[in-house]
Structure formats: C-alpha cells, structure tokens
Symmetry: D2
Amino acid sequence: MKNTFGNQFTITLFGESHGEAIGAVIDGLASGIPLDLSFIEDMMQKRKAKGNISTQRHESDKIQIVSGYFNGYTTGTPLTILIKNEQNHSKDYEKTKDILRPSHADYTAELKYGGYQDYRGGGHFSGRITAPLVACGAIAMQILNQKGIFIGSHIKQLHHLFDISFVNDEKLLEQQIKKMNESDFAVLDSSIKQKMIAHIEETAKQKDSIGGVLESAIVNIPPGIGEPFFDSIESRLSHLLFSVPAVKGVEFGLGFDFANHYGSEINDEFIYKDNKIKTRTNFNAGINGGISNGMPILLKTVIKPTPSIFKEQNTINKKTLENTVLSIQGRHDPAIIHRARIVVDSVLAIGILDLVMEHEATLSMKK
Amino acid sequence: MKNTFGNQFTITLFGESHGEAIGAVIDGLASGIPLDLSFIEDMMQKRKAKGNISTQRHESDKIQIVSGYFNGYTTGTPLTILIKNEQNHSKDYEKTKDILRPSHADYTAELKYGGYQDYRGGGHFSGRITAPLVACGAIAMQILNQKGIFIGSHIKQLHHLFDISFVNDEKLLEQQIKKMNESDFAVLDSSIKQKMIAHIEETAKQKDSIGGVLESAIVNIPPGIGEPFFDSIESRLSHLLFSVPAVKGVEFGLGFDFANHYGSEINDEFIYKDNKIKTRTNFNAGINGGISNGMPILLKTVIKPTPSIFKEQNTINKKTLENTVLSIQGRHDPAIIHRARIVVDSVLAIGILDLVMEHEATLSMKK
Amino acid sequence: MKNTFGNQFTITLFGESHGEAIGAVIDGLASGIPLDLSFIEDMMQKRKAKGNISTQRHESDKIQIVSGYFNGYTTGTPLTILIKNEQNHSKDYEKTKDILRPSHADYTAELKYGGYQDYRGGGHFSGRITAPLVACGAIAMQILNQKGIFIGSHIKQLHHLFDISFVNDEKLLEQQIKKMNESDFAVLDSSIKQKMIAHIEETAKQKDSIGGVLESAIVNIPPGIGEPFFDSIESRLSHLLFSVPAVKGVEFGLGFDFANHYGSEINDEFIYKDNKIKTRTNFNAGINGGISNGMPILLKTVIKPTPSIFKEQNTINKKTLENTVLSIQGRHDPAIIHRARIVVDSVLAIGILDLVMEHEATLSMKK
Amino acid sequence: MKNTFGNQFTITLFGESHGEAIGAVIDGLASGIPLDLSFIEDMMQKRKAKGNISTQRHESDKIQIVSGYFNGYTTGTPLTILIKNEQNHSKDYEKTKDILRPSHADYTAELKYGGYQDYRGGGHFSGRITAPLVACGAIAMQILNQKGIFIGSHIKQLHHLFDISFVNDEKLLEQQIKKMNESDFAVLDSSIKQKMIAHIEETAKQKDSIGGVLESAIVNIPPGIGEPFFDSIESRLSHLLFSVPAVKGVEFGLGFDFANHYGSEINDEFIYKDNKIKTRTNFNAGINGGISNGMPILLKTVIKPTPSIFKEQNTINKKTLENTVLSIQGRHDPAIIHRARIVVDSVLAIGILDLVMEHEATLSMKK
C-alpha cells in the first residue's frame, strides 16, 4: 500500500502538482469530533509560500471536505479532503521536460513510470502533495491537543546560522512548542530570525538554495506507547519523516553525537522527582527500547537545499543523451525549511496518534 | 502487526533473552530456493560475541528450521527458524530486577507491560533477538546476491577513531563490500583495525562502553525501486534500521551535512557515461524522490554505546523509589557496533528484497 | 484499514449517498495502461438504475479522474475517481430520520457513530457507494481481460424463478461470460428474462422487494494463484463479496450441496485431456487447498431482497422508543440483483488481479 | 502476508504435517493475561481425532509456549506456540507421491511450488495445521469469555441427518452454546447423536466419507462492532472461515434462503423490549450494514466430505500422465465435521476479538 500509511489512523495521499486536484482520505476517525476548521486552515496557511523567501506560486490551498463530515462533526466514515490545483503554469515545464533536473525525481520517475508520469511541476513528487498531508496532520494534531499532547518544531539550523535548542523542562518546553506553533517563521531565539530571513533572500538573489535542520519536540505523550522492534516510536516516526520530500536524515535525542561519548556519559539516570519517575538527562529522547518513558521526545530532521535553483547547472537531455546547461525557470523556493517544519509536525502528529490508538486497542483486551 | 514487517517478504520475530527459544517466521519465500546454510551460518557467526571485545555470553546460536524447508530447498510455505536459549544465567537478573538500569528498557517495559514482562536479560528487548533477524537477513541477502545486488557495512567511526569512507565507484565499491562481508571486524583502512580493537578493550577495562557510526552501501539495486511517499526507500529502510536496538540516527548520502551547503554545491549533476545515465556526484545516495536511480545507496547509522556498563551509575529502585547505585554485573559488551553491522546489513537486505518484489508485482500487471 | 482493501492493487472507498461526492483511490496501478473509458462507462451504466425495475433516482454517475491519469494513460501513481452526487432529495429523509427502517443500517449506524452519521439515503452504507467500486472493478477487469482472464455473472435465481447454470466447458463458458457481460439483464436462458422482469415489476406494484442468487464464473485464471490458508482464493473473494451490501451467503462450486453427498460422489477426478491436466468434474470450483488448479472458478452469491419497501412495516422510533408503522417513501429498487451482479463482477476482478500480482511478486524472487 | 491474519490480534501460522513442528505466533496480546492452559488443552482435545469416527493418527498435540509467556501470564510480546509432529508415517506417502489424489491440494501444490512442496501428509495443506489455529482460537476465546461473549457451534446437518437449530433467545442460546462447548460431539438434539455417529462408522466401513453443515452462534457481542464495507463482520469472519480446509460455503442468518422470500417477509422489525432495542426476528443474524446490532450472530458453514477415502478412485500420475486407480491408504477421517467445529469456533473467536479491539482503538480517539 504505497500511498497509504497507518494502522488505526490511516491516510491515503493522491494527486499531482498540475492535475485537477490533490487530496487525501483519512480512515479510522472516530465519529463526533468537531473539526476546528480554523485550526486546520492555520496550519495550511503556515505551510504555504509567502513573501520573498518562498516560491511565487501562490495557491489558495482551500480544502474541501467531500465525505466523512456532516453538520460540523466527523461521521466516523472516511473523510476525504480535496484541494484544487489552480495556479497551473503547465507550459513552463513543456519545453524542458527532457532535461533531467539535478537531484530532482525526473529521472527516477522516468525509470519507474517509463515516460507516463505527469512531469509537470514534479507531478506526484511535488512538495505540493504535502498540502493534503498537512490537512491530515492538522486533524491528528487537534485530536492530540485535546489529549494534552503537543508537538512543535523550530529551525535549529539554517545553512550556517543556528538557533538555540529546546529546553529540557517539560513545562517550559510545552510553552516553547506553543509559541513555535503560533509563529510564521519558527525560531526560539528571536534575534536570529531576521538574519535567517535575510540569508534566504540573499540566497534567492544568488539564484541558489539552502537547507537546514529542524528540531522537533513532543510533550506529554503517554508512557508505554510504541513497541520493541518494528513499531518502535523511532521506526514509525522515521518512516513518516523520510516520506517528506527533502528529508535525508533523522536522529533522536543525541543522535549521531552518541558516537562521540562513553556510555557512562550519556546513559540517562533515573530519578524520582515531582512524584514521578523521570530521567535526569534525556539523551535518549524519551524513548527506551522503542517505547515512550514519559519524557519529551526530541528529534532532528535535516531538510536538504531545494534542488530547484535558477543558477546554471550541468546535466543531460534524457532523449538525446547530450550534455546541456540548465537554469531552472518557473517559480521555486530558495528555502523550504520554514514551510517543511509544518509538514514535519503533521507527520509526527499522524504517527503519534496512530501509536496511541494501537496502544489503547491492546489495553482494551483486558477491559 | 507489531512484530511483523514486510509486504512480500514478511518476517515475524519472537522470543525473549532467557525464554525457551527465540526465532522468526519468514513468509513469502518462493519455493525451490536452495538455502546456503553455510552462508547463513557465517552471518550468524559474525554477529556473535567473540573475544575480549564482546560479552562473555557465548551462545551457539544454532538455527533450527522447523518448517518451510524440505530436502534442501524452500517449500514456499512459512519458513520458521528457532534458536534455543542455552546460556541462561537467569539468576544474575533476579536480585537486581527492581533497579532501573539507565537507558535500558526496564522502565518502559514496566510501563507498557505492567510488571508481566520477562525481565531476565532484557527479555524481548534483548539484542539477542537480533540473532533470528540476522538469520532472516541472511536468507534475503542470499537471494539478493543471486540477483547481483550486494550490501555491506563498515565501522566508519568508533568513538573518536575514524575509518575511511566507501569509494564512489561502483565496481570498486562492490569489491569493498565483499571484503567487508568476509571480515570479522569491518573496517576499510586495515591500519585502524587494531587501534579500534584496542580501544574497545581499553574501554572494557574502564568498565565503560562506546558506540560509533556504520556506513552501509548497496550496489546494483535495480533502478526504479521504491515509491514517492510512504514507501520511499529511505522510509522503508529507516523503519527497519530504527528497529535495531541502539540505533538512534539514520542518514542517507550527505545526510545532516546537507544543511551546510548551497543547493548548487550538492545537486547531483546527471551525466552520460559507460552507456548509462549516472550522476557525477552521489550526495543523494542513489535515491531521488524515494526511488533508486541506479547509483549506489549509501547510508549511515549511529550505534549508541551499550547502556550496560560495569561502572557505577546512579538510578532508583522502581519499587521503593529510593535512589541507589548500580554496577551492572553479568555479561555484556563494551561495544556492539562490530556485531551490529551484521544486523544492519540484515535489515537492509530484508527491506531491499521486499521493495524489489513489490516492484515486480506492479510490473506484472502489464505482462 | 477499514475502507482500504488489497495488497498490490489497493482500493480505498469513500463517500456518502447525499454528500458532495463519492469516490475511490486505486493504488498499485502500473504506469502506461491506456484506460478504456468506454469500457468503464459501460460497466457503470449496467450498474445504474433503469426502467421500472429499479429506483427512480437516476444519477449520471459520471466519473471524474482527478489524479494518476495523464494523456490517456495511467501514471503509476494513485488514481482517484470522483463521482458527484447530483440527485439529492435529502428532505425525503429528514422527517423520518428517527424511524428505524427494518433491516437497514440505521440502527447499527446509530450504535457505531452515535448520531453523527450522515443519515440521508443510508449515508456511507448506501448501495450508491458501489458506483466507485464498479469503476475500480472495471479497471481491474480491463487489465485481466488483457491477460485473457474473463469474469461474468448471471441471475441464477430470482425469487422463485430459475435460470439454467453455466456450462462446464471452458471454451463455451468463456462465450457465455462474454454474452452476460454484454447483457443488460444477465440470464443464460433468454426465455426466462421477460418472466423475471415481469416479476420484478409485479413485486414493485405489490410495494415489496425480492432477491435472488448470482452465479459467477472466472475462466483462464492462471494455475497456482492463491495460498493455503488466509489468502485462499475463497477467503479473499468472500471477503470482498461480503463487503457488497445485501450479500448474505457465498458458496464455491457445489457449496452447501457438498453436505448431501459422499466423498466418492463429489471428489473431482484428475484426467489428462487436450494436453492438460484437468478434472473430470469441477465440484470444487477450480480451487483445491485455496489455490487455482486451472479449471473455471464458479461461485454463487445470495442477494437478499432490498430492505426498502413501500409496504407498511412495524418498527420503532429510536428517540421516543415507541412503536410506529413505516412505509418507506423516496426512490428505491424492487430488486437490485440485476445491478448487483456488476458489483459482484467488479469485486471479483479486484480480488483476482490482486492475487495474480502477489503471485508474480513471489515468482520474481527467483528471477 | 499470506499466513498472517488480524490487525490487532494477529496470528501467523506455520508448519507441515510431517515436518519437525507446526505452530503459530500470536502478536498483539495484552500483558498480564493469566492463560487458562486447561481451557486451551480442552479445545485442543476436542479437535483431536478419537475413536472409530476419526483418523487413527493420534498425535498428543501437546502445545509448548516458547515465548511471550512468563510466570503464568502473557508478557505482551509475541506468544509462540509449538506442536511437535510425532506420529509421522512418512513412508505411507512416498510410494504414491506422484498419484494426484482427487480433490486434494496435491496438484495445486505442484503448480504453485513446482515440486518443492513437502508432499507428506498434505504438507502445509494438512488439516493438522488447524491444531495451532485452535490453540490461538482458544486464547482468543478465553479473552472473549471474560468479556461475556460466547461462541459455539453444533452439527446442524451430517449428510442426510439433521439436528434442530439454535434457539432465537439470547439467554437460552447462551446456555446452548455452553452445552455445545462442553460436548465432544456437538448436537442440540441428543437423540440424533448416536445416529450420526453410527452413520459415520457405517460410512467408514463403506470406505467413504461424508460432510455436513455447522451452525455457529455468537452471543453478547457488543453493538457497533464491524465496519460498512471491507471490514464488515461478514467479510472478516468469512475470510477466516474459508481459510479452514474443507469449507466451501458460508452464510449468515437466513443466507441463501433469502432468495426465496419477499422483503416484507424477511425484514427484521425493530422492537423495544427488556429496556433494549431488539429485532423481533433475526434473519440478518445480528448484522446490519456489516455492523453488529446486539442480537446474536448466527451463521452456517458447509464442511465438505473429506477427500481421502479408501474407495478406489480414478486419477492420473502427474509424472507419467497415465490413468491410474487409487485407493488412499494411511490414516484418515470418514468425517471431520465434529472436529472442524472446534476450528470454526476458533477462527470466529479470533475474528471477533480483532474487531472488538479495533473498535476500542477508534473510540480511544475521543478519550
């Protein structure tokens, strides 16, 4: 099931960048959930391109719910979200369709689909498909928030510019998450924000692109969620995170830095505090043996620089096999990390909600 | 399906460290495959603890195939692998079972299973469960090798010691992989091997543990494997990799280093060479849009230091909730990265074979 | 995954009778399949209500493909079918929404969805949701036909009127199937057709409804398809058949009549004929041990009388819990079996294609 | 996943009739369930061959739990059941292995597995594989019984001999079920029991075999279980039932008899009685629109006569393709319906428990 994910909260993604519509089906929703459409709309807006630091393709991204929703509540049947494609400049792609854009999926699409793929704007590979993914994520997020679980991300690194890190205190962390979720450009240290925006604008002028690293946090996740092997929290979340275009690395807690330390330095000691068992440090990001221990889950995701750049690049023509020089025209983003963070939050919400529901299914056996 | 993974080549893992047996069921095997038992045995041996640099628990790890195998060939029905647990020093665990070992799954197991878990030796969380995983991986690997696909890993980093990297030439890379697969302690630069082994021994003497980073390579994967979103190669492989105990980070190609570069520096230009479309560089690790482009797949996995150390650690007793000092007795590994690389190779083989089979299923529609 | 079915050819159904649109997503299609839209249209037309023998709700049922289809060919990405709901007489349902219609899903919907379901016209339970199912089935059918596999059904029994049975000769059976597929009202014995239609019309006048039994046949299915236990052909097809509203029984070959015979009477002897191993009789419907033996697959499905009747029925009001008398107004079918046979053909095509693809996936392991 | 079934309560079956062991893995069990081993043993015993009316292969069928079970309780990790094969008369099969036994899976196994299958005693197709299925079913049954849900079956028809039907009163039905579950040869009308046994013995003397029809009942299933389409109760239960060797037909409630009636005759009127909404009749077997309405679920399953008979049968040799006459030697059953009813009860328990758990997962979203 290539475009379907989740066991209890299941989403199916569809659509191409320049087709008639993109969308998603959510199956497994309980009935009677009053959807907060402004909450969904808000996340959709934050994912959207805006200003000089993003593509000039401005879609309204208005979601249309065509099933599973009645009189303001979920019905419990599949909820289908449609988003019309409006701003189709399809001709932009016609003339260069045989030129393989470096690091894009043009060539792999050709290999897989043998020339039948919708090549316009990246087709099904387009970052645009993340719009319905965010709509699904917003619904999952609303449900998690009702349970007191909060998820948020900030731009830890943009090229050579660095933000501070999330705090290691649950109460304060929850506040930081909420602040990031209200923010259009999510950084903890407000003094770095303008520098980052300026650097994106400068990169756009240089006809280039940049990427960075997102730090994400999940607080108040119930302890005991996840499974020892294939359904470890890390497995399920990384599966979803690597589904997001541009993600090329995921690490939990100390991540790759674990390699630089002795066990004695990075083992998380258990302590008893505030009437709870906690860990003094949280290098393992709230997860031991794949299962939540109640501490915050912290993870980092690298977002590579967008492959679409105005700068000239060497490549070949897939038909003539001749070398050519390409300067990608059309509308594209000098950086997508500030938009990608909403997609990352969305897939984290989808993954966590599914795990929480499965946990409850198991517990129900003894009721 | 918590302990089952794969759509076409499906494995189900079971067992506890000190139970009667551990094992796995493989479903989806074609009939008539002559299993190379010495090949399986060889991978099992390489995963096993040996010498001073590993635990002193020496299990024979002899696999017993109790179904799906007849007269030297697979029958096409579920193949079940059993491995008896022999070296059970269960008493080692009895007296300290209420002491929460830092960074172990003792506490999360308690949270999830409410005290009913088999606590002896980590139970189902034990690294020992990777033995049947390797047996499954060895079978997948044998099948992939028949198709000309090769997979291997080396210890890129052990604490502060670094190996060189895999080469970026397919022919030479295939040779490097084969060499690693023959090696007991996999490093490309033979001059670093003894230093690494010495450092592990030294760490053991310090009653501590260390981790590191594995670099893995997959060559000759057919182009067009994988899917745009949830079944991207990165999604499926990371899902499996994070199932391996001790893995806390996974990156493909340039990985987190993508954040430090401009798009123009790290886009992989397409070239036509040796009658094939290739990329000049391979920062994206042979994967664009989730799908293989024919270039080698390269990835890194961080293996954290084993949490079991002889050194004294602060922790608490889960029953009394009092602080206590723990020095983990019993048999444990000062480093597991040299053993983990076989587990990593195994899950990569399992993941790739499954994706290859699914690709063929789709193609068959047009036959 | 409640509304998703299939491993390789996967469909996700959505929609409510009086919502904005109903539809389906097909995932797992190969790219480059030229869809025969008139073939799909033709199956859609045959499922539609027509004349006096069906409901007077006449929807155009025009399908709109909004993704996965480009320049006349499948792209290999999810293909999404939308069908707008046009003839919504939603007010018909408003005044009687608390009256539990006997044998309808009104009460179970209430139990499951707690009052949040879209009650208009049966909501997600409506037979109308079979329209996108037929669209999916038509695509599967087209692909199977290309492989020489044919599927068809006829009305074996309509209330007390009986058609003859399919022949037990593959060549002639293939012709019969094709004739049924061209027919608007599928019976083998043309002399019974008018009697059946007259009986439906007479039943409509009596404000009542009738059901019957469909006999279905599948020819030229490759031998060796299916699996011993959970993926037996019977398991997979019955799973799909019982998903069709109104189906309450499924039998393969001799079915329930097996109970009336000695083993010696109904064992299918193997013979060698026309250079092929066949069975002399085909009581087991071409399936032994869950797997196709190359003989035609024959099965019967009972379609119960539609629960919607104009005749007065006793029931209760779910709110007041008082007894009441109901005469169902609105537009409904005195019989649906002639329409249901297209739905049955559709799910059989979906099930068989999926099994064929999975078989090929396994075989690919040895390529 | 060919030999794995279930979303929350997941079982994986493995083994061959004359291999080393057969067994199953159950995943998704909650921890802390005290297994009633004598209850499991009792169901295993009832499935076993006994006396003159069954095969003379008498296996001890002793189950061995090698994982997921500790100190008398489930641990919450995969529970693995092994059953050793002891009474292997493998030589019985050697000399006739090329003779295709009519209505057995010998030929389809050959087609599917190309000669690599374990042909001894039917291999993986053997009814013997239902032993671990019963062990899994017994565990599911124990859990359901704790919830007050009861499942049982009786032999409604044995060849031309008929038992009475289950009553249509929940309280009395529960008692009937419990009585059947205590019985070795399950018939409601004790006067028919000896006639049936005598008829089986007589059939054995005639070197023939007979089948029949099982009627099964499920009481106290929570209302609102199941789903509208692919996860309808009928779909999920029929999927499992058709996995049982010898099952060739399944019907719910009135089943095929629906075809003989007008809608007005068989619609189940709603009534309010005993402070509950019920239906006056229960022709739809407690299921409307795929979902339970709280009334008992009633279904029938046809068990065909066992294909193994001592009587001479015409068939061919698969190697020489010559006609031959076969008289099946070895040990076999003149009837299996009295043993099959335990298997039917088992798969019903597995299917219902899984649906109940999934329902709870959805509800948990709103908690």
